[in-house]
């Protein structure tokens, strides 16, 4: 099978947890392969969400805001990491910028193409949505524990001054 390394990337992605080989192949047949150079912007905050991305190779920074206001929310550097998945959930614009850290290979899945896969294999949509919800819940737990830590640091800081 020619695309087997990509199939391995997909099957290792937490987004694909529980997906069968036929389902992975159906998805892979729709992917657009993209190459980004260091510093190149992959996703622009505020623009329409129309595509899901899976990291094949390299790393990306997820950054909220620009310039002095910019806060790096996370860095994704594992093959199979994903972003832009909210395109499958709601119609809100992109909530952050995503930049390539070095030369980065991405598997892109445009929403329009995915919709045709969902129509043919409904279980693919169910599995993706479940995995997205799981991942959101994990990130929400992390964000809330970061808030608890930051609040404590802020309190300690004000006590010290």
């Amino acid at each position: 099978m020619p695309s087997s390394p990509e199939l391995e990337i997909l099957s290792a992605s937490p987004l694909m947890h529980g997906m069968g080989e036929e389902e992975l192949k159906a998805l892979l047949s729709t992917t657009e392969r993209r190459l980004y150079e260091a510093g190149e912007r992959i996703v622009e905050e505020g623009t329409p969400s129309d595509c899901l991305f899976i990291l094949a190779d390299g790393a990306v920074d997820v950054v909220k805001g620009m310039g002095d206001e910019a806060v790096t929310l996370s860095t994704l550097d594992e093959s199979g990491d994903f972003f832009g998945e909210m395109a499958l959930i709601d119609i809100l614009p992109r909530s952050a910028n995503v930049f390539a850290c070095g030369q980065t290979r991405i598997l892109a899945f445009p929403k329009k193409v995915l919709t045709t896969v969902f129509a043919k294999v409904p279980r693919v949509q169910m599995t993706l949505v479940l995995n997205i919800a799981r991942n959101l819940s994990l990130r929400l737990r992390e964000a809330d524990s970061r808030i608890a830590t930051l609040s404590r640091e802020a309190n300690t800081g004000s006590e010290g001054s």
């Binding site: 959930i89 919800a133 929400l140």
Partner: protein, 156 residues
């Protein structure tokens, strides 16, 4: 009041969790929902325990708490809007409760256990992806709010 099936039906059909479901589906959920009453200071769910139900607030006021690394209480949110819900994470992720929810006043809640929801999904198979997408949407909104709060605290 909340005892009336018609009102419970209206209440559930207005919840963003069940957005997109039809009348037959809502009627079925109404049958499966349990009513629970809490008095002030009573704990509704406790951080660290197994999450096995979704709760929707019908009446009253609740607050959401966690503890920082030193065990001090941090209030994450207040819930006082009719229809506000929590515990939906348990549907997607069978981990422990991520926070404690406490009644600040007397409160009436509708409870949908995971068992009840799974039985519902077995009967209405198309409903599962609809509800999961609604949950993901809500989680995404909460994550956006939490990330905004992280940015605010970090830059202050």
């Amino acid at each position: 009041m909340v005892e009336s099936p018609d009102l419970r039906e209206a209440f559930l059909s207005e919840s963003p969790l069940f957005d997109g479901l039809g009348k037959a589906e809502i009627d079925d959920l109404v049958e499966r929902a349990e009513i629970h009453e809490f008095t002030a200071e009573q704990i509704v769910v406790e951080e660290g325990t197994l999450g096995d139900a979704i709760f929707l607030l019908y009446d009253g006021r609740l607050s959401v708490h966690t503890r920082d690394e030193e065990g001090r209480d941090v209030e994450l949110a207040t819930l006082d809007r009719r229809g506000a819900f929590f515990g939906e994470i348990s549907l997607a992720d069978s981990g422990p409760r991520s926070a404690t929810v406490r009644a600040d006043s007397g409160a009436v809640l509708l409870k949908l256990s995971l068992d009840a929801l799974n039985a519902f999904f077995a009967q209405f198979s198309d409903a599962q992806v609809v509800v999961l997408r609604n949950i993901a949407r809500v989680l995404a909104q909460r994550l956006r709010d939490s990330n905004a709060l992280v940015s605010t605290i970090s830059s202050s």
